[in-house]
Symmetry: C2
Subunit: 452 residues, 2 copies
């Protein structure tokens, strides 16, 4: 007999939180559908061969691995035991929990490419798991809400992502946000221009931390990673480019001799133009040349969304990846996607008090339970309430009325029907409004009409 506890870094979501979370999920889902995305769900665990090597070394470490079933240790040799945890893992585990929704999606696309209608627009709303050290706001299980298009390199998809963000976030009450956009091709161009050709990956990882650790520490990190002093000096103007009135102009001059860098700028400008044609009112987009994002598979536009005036990391992120399916042997399927971080969005909405008041997932009417006779009478009333579409229940035990009303009160049930001997004789039931305390009498049909 043990006192039970939650596994570290995981959470239960009780009724109150579920109502709020459902509001977020439903809002996002409706908009995904209005933009032509179709639902997909993939299994919680995948073969490790699918997951490993897609998220970098750190990601591989953070994958939750499932112990093989049955006699997993019988065939192992002493050498296997002594080889250390990493090689041993391969011998006793062949499955892992999904780390994000993008890699399983790429796996799905590759396995179903013969029958999929391309371009394929899918959304996916499921939990993911990471064996991160738990801390405030970081959990080992959390939901992602992703929308991706694969099978086209049309920049319309990028423009649609911008529209989708401006559609969904205000519906959640989040009006003050910034969609930061950059393009990996620009970062490649910058690496070229500062004489660090081929090192854009390292450059991205370092620059990505600018927000958190500041310019000086980014420069330190670049030194540690063997960027030359000359490269670092050449990089200097990049730090001051963000947010100007015409950021592209200045950068265009600076990147004039980098073909790929210029292509990145062209792509972003095209997205800007399309968004304008799509009639976006009050756009909250900002080009940020220092936006890099950690994941290695991005190759084009990258997005990140911050809620302004709230101390929290990005609430959405995404970008274009040209070769994710290539790791599964099928190159040439370009894709682009956006992911909504529901847990952080939830925190933002809590902090700004943005959840709507009226909650729909609760009982509307409770029938009280006086005694055996009233109980029988109540049984005939209950189905009528439900047939009228009302969420309804009868208190199951004949306990003191005070206790029953206390139950209704704590469960936020707005109406209680009281059935006493008077009521049974006349057929005139009493309806109590739990907020105002007011009572009214009427037939069950009249009370239903009063409540709906």
């Amino acid at each position: 007999m043990s006192k039970p506890s939650l596994a570290r870094g995981t959470r239960d979501f009780g009724p109150e939180q579920m109502v709020k979370r459902t509001f977020i999920f439903d809002t996002i889902r409706r908009s995904f559908q209005r933009y032509g995305f179709q639902p997909l769900e993939t299994p919680a665990f995948e073969n490790l061969s699918v997951l490993m090597g897609k998220y970098g070394d750190e990601g591989d470490q953070l994958l939750f691995k499932l112990l093989n079933s049955g006699d997993f240790s019988g065939k192992l040799t002493d050498a296997d035991w002594q080889a250390g945890s990493k090689p041993l893992t391969n011998k006793i585990s062949e499955k892992g929990l999904r780390y994000d929704l993008t890699v399983p999606f790429a796996r799905y696309v590759v396995m179903n490419r013969g029958t999929l209608v391309m371009p394929f627009k899918r959304y996916q709303i499921q939990p993911v798991w990471r064996a991160d050290r738990p801390q405030k706001g970081r959990y080992r299980e959390f939901y992602q809400c992703d929308a991706d298009v694969v099978g086209t390199d049309s920049l319309l998809c990028e423009a649609e992502i911008v529209m989708l963000l401006h559609d969904i976030l205000p519906q959640l009450g989040i009006e003050d946000f910034t969609v930061k956009i950059n393009n990996r091709k620009i970062l490649t161009g910058i690496a070229d221009m500062i004489g660090a050709h081929g090192q854009e990956g390292t450059l991205c990882v370092a620059i990505d931390k600018l927000d958190k650790i500041g310019k000086d520490k980014v420069v330190d990190e670049l030194r540690e990673r063997n960027f030359s002093e000359e490269s670092i000096t050449l990089l200097d103007p990049v730090f001051s480019l963000t947010g100007g009135l015409n950021p592209f102009g200045e950068l265009r001059t600076w990147l004039a001799s980098s073909e790929i860098g210029l292509k990145g700028i062209d792509e972003l400008q095209e997205v800007w133009t399309m968004v304008e044609s799509l009639g976006l009112k009050n756009p909250r987009i900002q080009f940020d040349v220092t936006l890099a994002r950690g994941l290695s598979y991005y190759t084009g536009a990258i997005f990140e969304v911050k809620a302004n005036n709230v101390q929290i990391g990005s609430i959405c992120g995404g970008g274009r990846y040209d070769n994710l399916t290539g790791t599964f042997g099928v190159p040439g399927i370009s894709g682009v996607g956006i992911s909504f971080g529901v847990d952080r969005i939830y925190d933002v909405m809590e902090e700004l008090n943005l959840f709507p008041e009226n909650q729909t997932i609760s009982t509307k009417v409770m029938i009280s339970n006086f005694d055996q006779e009233a109980f029988r009478y109540g049984l005939s009333v209950l189905p009528k309430l439900r047939e009228a579409g009302l969420n309804a229940e009868m208190y199951p035990d004949s306990v003191k009325l005070k206790k029953q009303l206390d139950y209704a009160d704590r469960k936020n049930i707005p109406f209680v029907i009281l059935i006493g001997s008077d009521e049974m004789n006349t057929g005139q039931l009493t309806l109590k409004n739990m907020k105002t305390g007011e009572q009214q009498k009427g037939s069950i049909e009249e009370l239903i009409a009063a409540v709906i």
Copy 2:
């Protein structure tokens, strides 16, 4: 570079399946809410101390266990390695994937009993995982939809479960089903009556197989498990009790000297009476004294639902458990619940062709993409469709119209808007009905009105 595959026993759910599954989930969820149940979600993995010992030895074996993160093998001794898989598991794994929704629910109730409003009615719709040998209709990941009430032993809860089943299944088109009901107390009484006191657990496991293996093999199993020939002979009338006109009467005589057995009959008759008071039309309930159910935690009523005329196991199951929280140190919280097996319900609905035709999760209108100029024009049309609440998209690439129409066709998009130079000059767009092939011209407002 590897050809990717799904982990054994798992499945992807693409758009078509998702539409159907969503229909099932939404129907069940709405009814749960109308009966006053509130939503709960618990984490995918739990500490093994929570899960182990709740499902019997076989269940413990079928739990998916997570390998500890980091250097899990560094501190192990040679003795640990050589102890065999079972004891070794305890050293390198402390978490497992949930096996059902009932035990995590009991854990939640115990951890939150200080603040929970009792009786607590919750529903939970989440996947569970079992390391079973995969076979047709049996998967390693599948959803359960559970509704449970804890904190009351009122038989109203049992009656409500019967009502809930009769509410939900017909909404799914499943009209021809049988709700089999028994009570563990009756099985205890039977064990007493045949002189096998205290052996009702073994008796239940054997009798539970009657449907699958027949009476003779059940008797063989009882012999193997050391039931005496006398006991087995005494048991004989029980096999022929099911389904008579007044099954309780005969059984009541037979169980006359078993207090607990009679209590079981009383409870069932009370449920029968309540269901009648609740006005159930066309009840499909059947007392089945041989219904036992495998799980050991049941103590009162047990339920199982079969879809008639379909070759498939039970589609719902549940029962009352008096001491599930007792295993976590908090005795005396009685509960009762029902679980809907969505995968089997899905299979039944497929076989009987019960899914509704009109699918809501798809694009309603596609804008075609002729050339650069039409594309720009289309960008201004697209947001108007979405503002009108229509699911809409524009084909992202300027490819041949045939390919675009083929895309719409395969994605079941019913309407396509064609924009050519004529259309742009006059503002009169062309709307093509993809089913009939008909085309009509009109302003965007007129076309929206035609489509809604």
